[in-house]
């Protein structure tokens, strides 16, 4: 009995201590939530933090530090996915652990903007960006992200390999091979069939990127723009037709089935496994790294269906931050035309800013790896050719997920474990198992 009482007392002590500790933990999470006012000397912080996953041009940070006397701390992540996880957790935890300014990738933009109140409304900056970049960076007509780069789509190909195959010797003839001015996905895939008919290696690294690009051009691929609910995938003929077209090509073995990010991707370049890669502007540098020492890579200025866009990011300011006024000013500074040019020179990211796009520093820069091609010029043309359609169609909350599900179906055919029809059935079954309330 005595022992029990003592034990009870001890347990109570523990419980009280635990509660106190928890309460302390909660105490720190308050604050924030007020709307951004004017940045002034009064509310100037000693330092501002910015979270991103690429290199910053040092002169850009120095400029801001000198002008305002605020130190900028860069919280650098290894890749976009890590930055995404931290941001996601921070938003769920009332801003705990967030930086003053965050870089947000287009692919997870919708997810982060699901609660617009989490973000500070940014003042309009007229004529800085291409129109569709501004509308992408807005939620309910309110600008929440300042555009950085965009990902106009091009095709990198190895002209040594296509010459060997007797099909194309330079970017122009390669453009003709995949269908010229009126290139479609069908003509592109047929060119692939032609290539593998006379070669041991593959036409393309993986069809998943190309398929994603094709999906992106649909006005409302998976979800109803009115209700935001997913369409019943089994009834979605538009997606099904596209799927079967690409899956057919996958069955004909035109692709190696190894997409960017896969362990074998870099080695595939070194072993000359494929002759083409669907390449958004930001990927040109990545290919140059992975294909280091392999001659003959060029960028074609022709793209099926006129062109498209893959990725691109925004700087956004979480509303929970303590220095939102100055964070807005930093976001503005980081997305100026000068900043965009500096970034292009540092990491090769292609700008969404009108002034930067036409800047000779970008258009006339010759790229050694791509045989001295003016890569900036080519992507500028590709972006112009794609026009507003490059912004892509409607993306609801489940867009990225359903897209992964469907592209996994293409990978299934690429690995030879299913026929196109079987793969489609499996994709539909996976979708049905999730039990969405569908739009129709």
């Amino acid at each position: 009995m005595r022992i029990n009482r003592q034990f009870g007392a001890a347990a109570a002590t523990c419980a009280v201590a635990a509660l106190t500790l928890t309460a302390c933990g909660n105490g720190g999470g308050g604050g924030g939530g007020e709307s951004a006012g004017e940045a002034s000397e009064d509310n100037k912080p000693a330092e501002l933090s910015v979270a991103a996953w690429m290199d910053f041009p040092q002169e850009l940070l120095d400029e801001f530090e000198e002008e305002h006397g605020i130190e900028i701390v860069v919280n650098s992540f290894a890749d976009g996915a890590s930055a995404q996880t931290v941001l996601r957790n921070g938003l769920s935890a009332d801003g705990a652990g967030l930086s003053d300014v965050h870089l947000v990738e287009l692919d997870w933009w919708t997810e982060m903007m699901a609660v617009p109140e989490d973000w500070v409304e940014l003042p309009e900056v007229p004529d800085r960006w291409v129109d569709w970049k501004v509308s992408q960076g807005s939620v309910d007509g309110m600008i929440t992200g300042y555009g950085t780069d965009i990902g106009p789509l091009g095709i990198a190909f190895n002209q040594d390999m296509t010459t060997q195959a007797g099909l194309a010797t330079d970017p122009e003839s390669f453009g003709e091979l995949i269908g010229g001015e009126d290139a479609t996905w069908q003509s592109f895939l047929d060119a692939g069939r032609e290539y593998v008919a006379v070669n041991d290696n593959y036409f393309i690294d993986s069809l998943t990127n190309a398929f994603q690009a094709a999906i992106n051009l649909l006005p409302a691929a998976f979800e109803d723009p009115e209700s935001g609910r997913p369409y019943d995938l089994a009834e979605n003929t538009e997606v099904k037709d596209l799927f079967l077209m690409f899956a057919q090509a996958a069955e004909d073995d035109i692709s190696a089935g190894i997409a960017i990010g896969h362990n074998d991707w870099g080695a595939g370049f070194q072993n000359r496994q494929w002759a083409t890669v669907v390449t958004p502007a930001w990927m040109t540098g990545i290919i140059a790294d992975n294909a280091d020492g392999i001659e003959g890579w060029r960028i074609a200025s022709t793209f099926p269906e006129g062109g498209g866009n893959w990725g691109g990011s925004f700087f956004a300011v979480p509303a929970t931050g303590e220095n939102t006024e100055w964070a807005v000013r930093l976001a503005d500074h980081l997305t100026s035309a000068d900043a965009a040019v500096a970034w292009f020179n540092t990491t090769g990211q292609f700008p969404s800013q009108l002034e930067a796009m036409s800047s000779p520093e970008i258009a006339e820069a010759e790229n050694e790896f791509y045989g001295g091609q003016t890569v900036g010029q080519i992507y500028g043309d590709l972006a112009a050719a794609a026009g507003d359609s490059a912004a892509g169609g409607f993306r609801g909350e489940n867009f990225a997920g359903i897209q992964t599900l469907v592209t996994d179906g293409i990978r299934l055919v690429e690995s030879g474990s299913a026929t196109p029809e079987q793969a489609w059935e499996s994709v539909v079954a996976d979708f049905d198992a999730l039990g969405f309330e569908t739009a129709n």
Partner: protein
């Protein structure tokens, strides 16, 4: 004087200092051990119990708690074909990782248990794989099993593979074997050291006796070592079961699969339950924390059952082989006595009792002479 003063006082008053010291004795021990319990309450018990609440509700990352749905989340999970597939994958990977792991760690421990030169060096070196980050292990092994890695081109040269791609990323069974090999690589040394510690505690006389009886090294291993380390073996199998079923890092990083790690292959060939749980609750799009919590509970239940089954199997295996040990134990006494006599004889102190004991042992009548032996040693010690 002293007794008079004591009698004058009706009740003994307890001084503050004395009271403090009594509290010190009563309460302090609890305070000293309290950090563990406080930490456990916050980071162990609370999340565990809170998980029940999450599993019973509609729950999203940003929106938090939604409607109460009772057991709907559990029903939803049990209806997902992917859940069952991931369960199959997990058990398959567990077997491919666990069985070789157990066999290898037993072998390594047995070798380390011998009289080796540079013993500490070997013991430390088997632990090195365990120190390597699991993510790093997964990435390195991912390269090994890749199309241009160490393995696949060689298999192609041998004519065992014809397709140019790496089947280790496509074939379900092969991917399980590959991931199992990472688990084996990482945990074998760790388990070997635990088993080694147990083996060291096995009395050397048992081996001496067995050697005298003419048992081979292999026979000794199965008839002496294994039954003697039974308790540790059960412990190793249990922790291995729990750890092995929780495979996550290896499966997630196996093929690289995009910048954030893979989801277990295009056909979910190697999606494990924990990977599935992660994807449901914290992955890129599903945002179903309630269902993820339900997966956690279902899986905890499955692991519990499986651990019990494993425990029973392990126990029956090692207890069935304890019978021969008893026999050898009886023989041991005789042998020890014989050995001691042999050692004592050159000492040239032949007395009758000694000879009697010797003869008794030879006659196979233990009992009284065992006690006599004991007395003798005691006497010697005194």
């Amino acid at each position: 004087m002293a007794s008079e003063t004591a009698a004058a006082r009706p009740a003994r008053r307890v001084g503050w200092g004395q009271r403090l010291s009594r509290w010190d004795i009563k309460v302090s021990p609890y305070l000293y051990i309290s950090p563990f319990f406080i930490l456990f309450a916050i980071f162990g018990a609370f999340p565990l119990l809170f998980n029940v609440v999450v599993a019973m509700h509609e729950w999203h990352r940003r929106a938090g708690m939604g409607e109460f749905v009772g057991l709907d989340n559990f029903v939803w999970v049990l209806r997902q074909p992917l859940f069952w597939r991931s369960l199959e994958n997990t058990f398959s990977i567990f077997l491919w990782g666990g069985v070789p792991q157990l066999v290898l760690s037993l072998l390594i421990a047995a070798v380390l248990d011998q009289n080796l030169r540079a013993r500490t060096f070997w013991r430390m070196s088997v632990l090195i794989p365990f120190v390597v980050m699991p993510v790093a292990t997964a990435m390195i092994f991912g390269q090994v099993f890749g199309q241009f890695g160490l393995l696949v081109p060689n298999l192609q040269d041998l004519g065992l593979l014809t397709h140019t791609d790496s089947p280790f990323f496509q074939d379900r069974l092969l991917s399980h074997i590959a991931i199992g090999s990472m688990v084996t690589f990482r945990w074998t040394g760790y388990n070997a050291l635990i088993l080694l510690a147990a083996m060291q505690a096995v009395p050397r006389e048992l081996y001496e006796a067995a050697t005298v009886d003419g048992a081979s090294r292999v026979r000794q291993f199965f008839s002496v070592t294994i039954p003697s380390i039974r308790a540790t073996l059960i412990f190793v199998v249990l922790t291995m079961t729990i750890g092995g079923l929780q495979v996550f890092d290896e499966a997630r990083m196996y093929d690289g699969g995009g910048t954030g790690g893979g989801r277990g292959g295009a056909d979910n060939q190697w999606t494990t339950v924990v990977l599935y749980l992660y994807d449901l609750g914290f992955g890129d799009w599903q945002d179903r924390l309630g269902q993820a919590a339900a997966v956690g509970w279902i899986f905890a239940f499955v692991i519990g059952i499986f651990s019990v089954i494993n425990f029973l199997i392990t126990r029956s295996i090692s207890s069935s082989s304890t019978a021969p040990v008893r026999v050898s134990r009886a023989r041991r006494k005789a042998t020890i006595a014989r050995l001691r006599d042999a050692a004592a004889e050159p000492g040239a102190m032949p007395d009758d009792a000694h000879d009697d004991a010797h003869d008794d042992a030879h006659d196979g009548v233990p009992g009284s002479d065992g006690a006599a032996d004991l007395d003798l040693t005691k006497g010697a010690k005194r």
